[in-house]
Symmetry: C2
Subunit: 214 residues, 2 copies
Amino acid sequence: MEIKILKDILGANEQIAAKNRELLEKNKVFCVNIMASPGAGKTSFVLQTIKALKGKFKIGVIEGDISSSIDAETVAKEGVPVVQINTGGECHLEAIQIQNALNNLPLADIDLLLIENVGNLVCPAEFNLGEHLKVLIASVPEGDDKPFKYPLMFTTVDALVLNKTDLLPYVKFNVDNFVKTIKNINARAEIFKVSCTTGDGVSEWAKWLKSRIK
Amino acid sequence: MEIKILKDILGANEQIAAKNRELLEKNKVFCVNIMASPGAGKTSFVLQTIKALKGKFKIGVIEGDISSSIDAETVAKEGVPVVQINTGGECHLEAIQIQNALNNLPLADIDLLLIENVGNLVCPAEFNLGEHLKVLIASVPEGDDKPFKYPLMFTTVDALVLNKTDLLPYVKFNVDNFVKTIKNINARAEIFKVSCTTGDGVSEWAKWLKSRIK
């Protein structure tokens, strides 16, 4: 019974996601869904990506949070169009919310749309939004055992960004084991190591993202 | 329609949670539900709590994870009874899972039962398990803005433990602002600052917990 309800929700979500994708392609907008635990550095990663690519693409952002508009305000300072979605308790973004957000963005003036999902390593992985790429930000202080505990998220994504590498000297985290684990469970995922605090590694990510858009 | 379904689920959960509470009290077991983001240090906190209190109480542990038994194996090394719950995709523990776990624990030989919930700052806050205390572990690298973004979790808990204080020199985190925010939104929450890596602050937490049990 419960599973049936979930399937219905996911079925409806898929239909709306397909419509979102159609609208994005009609407007030549490349869309990236950025997911992570709370505090892994999604907003800092969005900011770094904007800084790295704003000369090359017209960028727009959708911020997803349960409440508050802190992230949207931060991103708006970069001079890009931003829509904040407050889910009001829901632990993930769904395609219908993105549909509403797309109607409030100047799509004709956007080449690259970054969606910052709600901070959660579980449910966002189940909901397609119509995006072209799913990206997971893992962060060093979270520990290197997370792929075993949150397998759907780690196997769903097209790219895995290990953030906060500047904290490697201060915490236990085996980068080689972590990368090996990811390669075992998700061979197609591109892996990047970055620090959004120092900017290290951001250019490799930006270069790859650029190659995916063109 | 969706809200109605959620209410039914929560209603059923409340009934089972009440039965769990009854069973716990019949067996004189004090139960703590520990919640946090992925990687905030829940397992390390469980281990530190066991070390601090194992001479004083007979301790049992329930480990909740989507998959894997890494945490249960780690905790079992401390020589305490452990049950691992694998939710198989669900992003939180529910009372029915705790009911099953309680049936698999030697309750007559346990004074203090620690439940480690699934790593998630959202949904676990909605589900009572029959516990006596709800505790949230926040961690320094997650940033000091989390109370604004995950308000239900921060307002639901009886105690707030700020973990990874050993990383304060390396990241931006305003402890005074964080504490002030918590006090504004949840005046009754006790606040502790700890490092489960160095052990700093654990004794204050253990002392308070002990005072709540007796």
